[in-house]
């Protein structure tokens, strides 16, 4: 059995293959508690204006220590390359973050990524020294292009962000898995823990979950469920599943039947 099975992104090692988002929680302390239950070592964060009027508003950094948990600045809410670049340059300025998540949306209803803008941004950010984890469609050709542009990780959606639909296109995910050695992380659209297991069994290196945990009736229990399901899926993938047969095959030997 393989003892050390780290997730490696941009030469950095992580024990957990579950990345969680920090949005949509009731409050900051719930968010921090759920992260603990999830065992995640990477969390996505958003860049927004400081509230100048209400200074008592709790700060994310007071609840989640960036020295212990890797912050992954995200460009959520950006609809073009210019906005995304501005956001990530600001994120880097806050504290030297180079590992970032690029998400350039193209449609307000489906929240599908605009891949032309995404590709353009990936090229520029990589040239500027960023390690870019890229939210993308599950199109194998686009995934290849992102890889050629220097992406640090390919992050195709399972389904629209926050939809909870689970993986919609097994085949494309499998094809992307076959063609890339880059970390492949399912980002967006998962609804329950078993969806994460499926992603891992397809050979993904990790999953990124926000809504499914944050909006569960019990987010802490769901965080733990996702933690376990990712581990289960990874172990199942590494174990090598049996072939599928149309007919039955008895588990007990025929010899010695009374």
């Amino acid at each position: 059995m393989k003892k050390i099975d780290n997730l490696i992104i941009a030469k950095k090692k992580f024990k957990s293959r579950l990345i969680v988002g920090t949005g949509k929680y009731k409050n900051m302390s719930d968010c921090a508690k759920a992260i603990k239950f999830s065992g995640a070592e990477i969390v996505t964060v958003a860049v927004r204006r400081v509230n100048i009027v209400d200074k008592k508003k709790p700060l994310l950094m007071d609840y989640i220590d960036p020295k212990k948990i890797t912050y992954l600045p995200n460009t959520a809410g950006c609809f073009n390359s210019q906005e995304a670049l501005r956001t990530l340059r600001l994120a880097r300025e806050i504290g030297g973050w180079k590992l970032v998540k690029l998400e350039v949306l193209g449609d307000k209803k489906t929240l599908f990524p605009d891949m032309i803008e995404t590709l353009k941004s990936t090229e520029i950010l990589t040239r500027e020294g960023f390690k870019v984890m890229v939210y993308c469609t599950d199109d194998p050709l686009m995934a290849k292009r992102l890889e050629n542009s220097g992406a640090a990780a390919i992050m195709p959606l399972a389904a629209p962000i926050g939809s909870g639909l689970g993986i919609q296109n097994y085949t494309n995910i499998k094809i992307i898995r076959k063609q890339t050695k880059l970390p492949l992380i399912i980002d967006a659209g998962l609804g329950q823990a078993s969806d994460a297991t499926i992603a891992m069994e397809l050979g993904c290196d990790g999953v990124l979950v926000n809504t499914a945990i944050a909006r569960a009736k019990n987010p802490f229990q769901m965080a733990l469920a996702f933690k376990n399901s990712v581990v289960a899926g990874r172990q199942s993938y590494l174990s090598g599943r049996i072939e599928k047969f149309l007919f039955g095959s008895p588990s007990s030997p025929k010899e010695g039947i009374i």
Partner: protein, 72 residues
């Protein structure tokens, strides 16, 4: 008595009036914003934190102060 001149600037999308000849550093300190946890943009250009003390705010300047919040 010396008259204090006020200038109009835009902070995080809102117009405000501040004292003329204020440096970015003293302005941000006055806002009680923790400098180590934010990034500052002046007229859409990021300002290196070491240069805040040398940067004087001028009339009609646009300042953005951002930080990390919860997000997906």
């Amino acid at each position: 008595m010396k008259k204090i001149n006020k200038i109009k600037i835009k902070l995080n999308g809102k117009f405000i009036k501040i004292q003329d000849k204020t440096t970015l550093l003293s302005f941000i300190k006055k806002l009680k914003v923790p400098i180590s946890k934010v990034a500052i943009e002046l007229n859409e250009t990021i300002v290196n934190k070491k240069l805040l003390i040398r940067t004087k705010i001028k009339k009609n300047d646009k300042i953005e102060i951002v930080h990390f919040i919860g997000g997906g």
